[in-house]
């Protein structure tokens, strides 16, 4: 397949995955912020800190729900607002319209028209903001459904999924990091489930957690869950193994220069998580562990771009 198309598919899904996560975090934070006696001290400025590229955005816009929502959803100055992400996803989709199915294109368009519709800023800051957030949420879920049920498998599918899971992995890292920062990265801090609920709902893994883990030592078991649980589709280990699977499928058919190096590079990243456990993480330090993983992934993504997408 054309390198440019592979590139666009990869980024289409990266942006959509980021959007999906952003909307879910917004929704979680919005709902939880109504509980007056909440034990989570997670606030809008922390959400902005995860998603913004501007260092002082959190202090500038994070004061209250209205300014934060406007900044996170409808502000085009924010490169990671819903509006910016959907617009960029659509641009990527537009360039590969002949490759993606009509259904996928229409679904991306649908989201685009929701965030670009008249009065979006008013809707998101008004009393019915939940309605808009829910619509965004449902439509990003629909996007995955449409992709899954209409896109042909094969090369394009593999690049789509590489984008999706690389992004997902990075987002899970960012979310864990932001919550761990709230307790100064001290894993021996006891935190209630009402604190961790925020992270679990943001990664849509709350119920699975409740079903799987004992109700004590929340801090350690939540961290273990979001990193190591193989049945949780947003855990690091799950995402990494999906990346590995799709990369292997690509390299099995197209041996080109550099592909073996790329496989080895990914193998090293995977084994870093595969052969770690909570003890080694405590020893290394959670932020150090997450940082090195994030750096390795972004280096991997760069190499992938160089080997498969270098058409310009």
């Amino acid at each position: 397949m054309l390198s440019r198309i592979a590139d666009s598919l990869f980024w289409l899904n990266r942006y959509m995955e980021r959007n999906d996560c952003l909307v879910r975090v917004i929704r979680t934070n919005y709902i939880l912020s109504f509980d007056s006696d909440q034990l989570t001290d997670f606030a809008w400025k922390d959400v902005i800190a995860i998603f913004s590229h501007e260092p002082d955005a959190a202090t500038l816009y994070g004061e209250n729900a209205a300014t934060s929502l406007k900044y996170l959803v409808a502000d085009t100055k924010n490169l990671n607002s819903v509006k910016s992400l959907v617009t960029k996803a659509r641009e990527n989709a537009r360039g590969v319209q002949d490759y993606i199915t009509k259904e996928v294109w229409e679904q991306v368009n649908q989201l685009y028209h929701i965030v670009n519709g008249p009065g979006v800023e008013g809707k998101i800051t008004g009393s019915n903001s939940m309605e808009l957030i829910d619509r965004l949420d449902q439509n990003s879920i629909l996007f995955y459904g449409v992709i899954d049920s209409t896109m042909p498998r094969g090369h394009g599918w593999q690049f789509l999924n590489l984008g999706k899971f690389i992004e997902r992995c990075i987002l899970t890292i960012e979310n864990i990091y932001a919550h761990s920062l709230k307790m100064d990265h001290r894993l021996d801090t006891a935190r209630d489930i009402l604190f961790w609920r925020h992270l679990l709902l943001s990664l849509s893994g709350y119920e699975l957690y409740l079903k799987t883990y004992p109700r004590d030592q929340y801090t350690l078991s939540v961290i273990e869950y979001v990193i190591f649980n193989k049945n949780f589709p947003r855990s690091l280990i799950y995402s990494l193994h999906r990346i590995k699977r799709y990369l292997n499928e690509i390299t099995a058919h197209t041996k080109i220069e550099g592909s073996v190096t790329l496989e080895k590079q990914l193998g090293r990243i995977c084994s870093k998580v595969d052969f770690a456990d909570m003890d080694t993480i405590k020893e290394e330090g959670l932020p150090q562990f997450l940082d090195s993983l994030r750096n390795d992934l972004s280096e991997f993504s760069k190499q992938l771009t160089r080997i498969y997408f270098s058409y310009a």
Partner: protein, 432 residues
Amino acid sequence: MAGELFMNQGITFTVYSDDAGIEKIFPFDIIPRILTGAEWDHIEQGIKQRLRALNLFLKDIYSEQNILKDKVIPAELVASCPQYTREVFGIQVPHDLYVHISGIDLIRSQDGTFYILEDNLRTPSGVSYMLENREVTKKIFPGMLSNSRARMINNYPLLLHDILVSLAPQQLSNPTVALLTPGVYNSAYFEHTFLARQMGIPLVEGRDLLVDNHKVYMKTTAGLQQLHVIYRRIDDDYLDPLVFRPESALGVPGLMSAYRKGNIAIVNAVGNGVADDKAVYAYVPDMIKYYLNEETILPNVPTYSLENADVRQHVFDNIEKMVIKRTNQSGGYGMVMGNIASPEELIGIKSAILETPREFIAQPIIKLSTVPCFIDGKLQPRHVDLRPYALCGPDGIRVVPGGLTRVALREGSLVVNSSQGGGSKDTWVVDL
């Protein structure tokens, strides 16, 4: 309902005069335009004749130039045509075909005669609207279409694909064909994706291609893949920065060298602009006589070239009955209608003509015929033109029965171009 169908599918075009290129929906009128089988057969014969002559003209003008030597067309007219491309002189194209795809514009005057308005032989657009219009009509009037036995148009992409494959330079069982687009910001990008999808060929941009050792390759995730036929929707000027405009980022450096070597077929051929130049247009009936020894079936609109002082004076005296067009522009850009232009516009255009008369032609304003349209909840007459699409392959010429009927949506307006606020209709050729 029709509006919704088009909105959801994103069938759009881009208007350049608005800031930063705005996507707009191409307005669609639901009442189909009807042509009788007999009317159509006449049009079809006329278009086939014209295309045969134009193909021979292009072959001649880029090789022997007999038509100039025999003084049928003045040599200075061709020499002064900016679209005459010296770079392709002497290049042999497969099957001697230059105009593979054409969208010749016809108008019908109020007495019912069809005239040729202009020959679009470079990268005519709009065929996707023709096909999509028919699909929408099928949904709105499901029974009527089959009951009236309108002739079928929807195999156009398949015919086009067959022709593209047949042009592959070497005898290959499975040549690689691609559609070259300027990219997402082009006004007809929707059409490019539509056609690529309907033909099942890759849609490539200039940056996807490279030329190595006079061969053209696509950059893919599995390395380089050789390309044999390009259906390009990029103007000649932008095709190859080494030969044409050096600043073009849309083209492929070295493409013309591969073309000259015969390693790549380009559709339509490079240099066709000389044949649909608005000043050369006036000589097409002479070409038909010269190459085919036939009488012209479909007449031209009378055209005044403005280099002769007497003719120019005649045009200036009757300017309120004339339309002035620039010879090198299309899409309704740079056109002045004498009957509605302001006095300042007329003075401006006159002085522009005096400066460079070769760049302008004048034609009497033809009262276009009208057809009924459904506007604001009632039927109203609107002026229309007709663009039938013709495909020339090694096995002959096929004209798709019908074509795109463009409508001037503003009451009384005679300008149908989509970029100037026109719309379109489905066109049925019905055998009575």
